[in-house]
């Protein structure tokens, strides 16, 4: 089977500012991958390109062998950094909305997770706290049986208990056919659940390896290596 995500000399500029300076990357299916880099390194730009929210300036990006578009959106589940929830629906209505548009959405899974996180499906989205909104979005994203999950900073804003729950969800959701890419700069929390890590700096991939190889070869954790590589 083809790689779930493949980039060839992928470049993206905003005006004169270059956000991605030629990314070559291949991510296989059935992996949990950390996309690691400091703020402004190009993580979000890469993820947006994979979601067709941006168009490459040069080079190509392929999802399961296809250019980003309607077909890839059916198999990609995306958690942006922003809260995209509207202010007029209730929680159960946004679940119905997702079920309506995504064939791979499992409402029962979503209701189950809502219950575990003590969120009332009858609550209005606009009345939820920022943290709860983030949890609802994560539930929506993880309740799909997607082939590629793109999670942009999923653990940045939430409390430690919710963070553990997120990591647990990612593990329990694991499937041989699905890949999860998590972008973050908080590495120590997620290191244990990763297969591979991709270090990205100033729009370039500077390291792509599996976690245990790094620990084996360097004798240190990915977190320690990250601090070393991105030392200010």
């Amino acid at each position: 089977m083809n790689a779930i995500l493949e980039c060839n000399n992928l470049k993206k500029s905003f005006g004169t500012k270059q956000a991605l300076a030629g990314i070559d990357l291949k991510v296989e299916r059935g992996r949990i991958v950390g996309l690691l880099g400091p703020n402004g390194s190009g993580k979000t730009t890469l993820i947006k390109l994979a979601n067709n929210l941006l168009t490459p300036t040069e080079g190509s990006i392929l999802i399961g062998g296809k250019k980003p578009g309607v077909e890839t959106k059916k198999i990609v589940s995306y958690l942006p950094e922003k809260t995209y929830l509207n202010n007029w629906m209730r929680v159960h209505q946004i679940i119905e909305f997702f079920a309506d548009f995504y064939e791979d959405f499992r409402p029962e899974k979503a209701y189950d997770m809502l219950k575990r996180l003590n969120i009332d499906p009858k609550d209005r989205l606009k009345n939820l706290s920022k943290g709860t909104k983030e949890k609802v979005q994560l539930i929506l994203v993880m309740s799909r049986d997607a082939e590629l999950y793109l999670l942009d900073e999923p653990i940045g804003g939430v409390d430690p208990a919710a963070r553990d729950y997120i990591l647990e969800t990612i593990i329990s959701n694991y499937s041989d056919n699905a890949t999860v890419i998590i972008s973050t700069h908080l590495i120590s929390d997620i290191e244990k659940i990763l297969d591979d890590v991709i270090f990205i700096k100033e729009g370039k991939v500077i390291l792509s390896s599996d976690v245990d190889s790094i620990r084996d070869e360097k004798g240190k954790s990915v977190d320690a290596l990250f601090r070393e590589v991105f030392k200010c």
Partner: protein, 123 residues
Amino acid sequence: MPWDFKPDRPIYTQLIEQIELKIFSGEFPPGSKLPSVRDIAQEASVNPNTMQRALAKLEEDGLVVTHRTSGRSVTEDIEMIRKAKNRLAKRQIAEFLEKMKLMGFEKTETLALISDMLEEMKK
């Protein structure tokens, strides 16, 4: 026994050691069924692929057996568990003796110290 990982070594080797310990200590008794890879990975909060690799290595060593239909279980071969346990014990003792040597203790002195301590603990 909670799962705990040190930052300087591969998670996969640490998983093997910790599962071995659980088998030796009886937390996973001989012949008992092991949780599924996903469940045990979730419990340890580690990547399922890494857990899979660790279990495969334990299987290779013979401590864990796979049944075609009902998943994995700990071997029923008590003799094999005992041997593996002894191997681990010997390794630990060798490491300990090495450290004592660095501190300047002769083997007989070390042994005397151990006997004394055991006497103390009895009281």
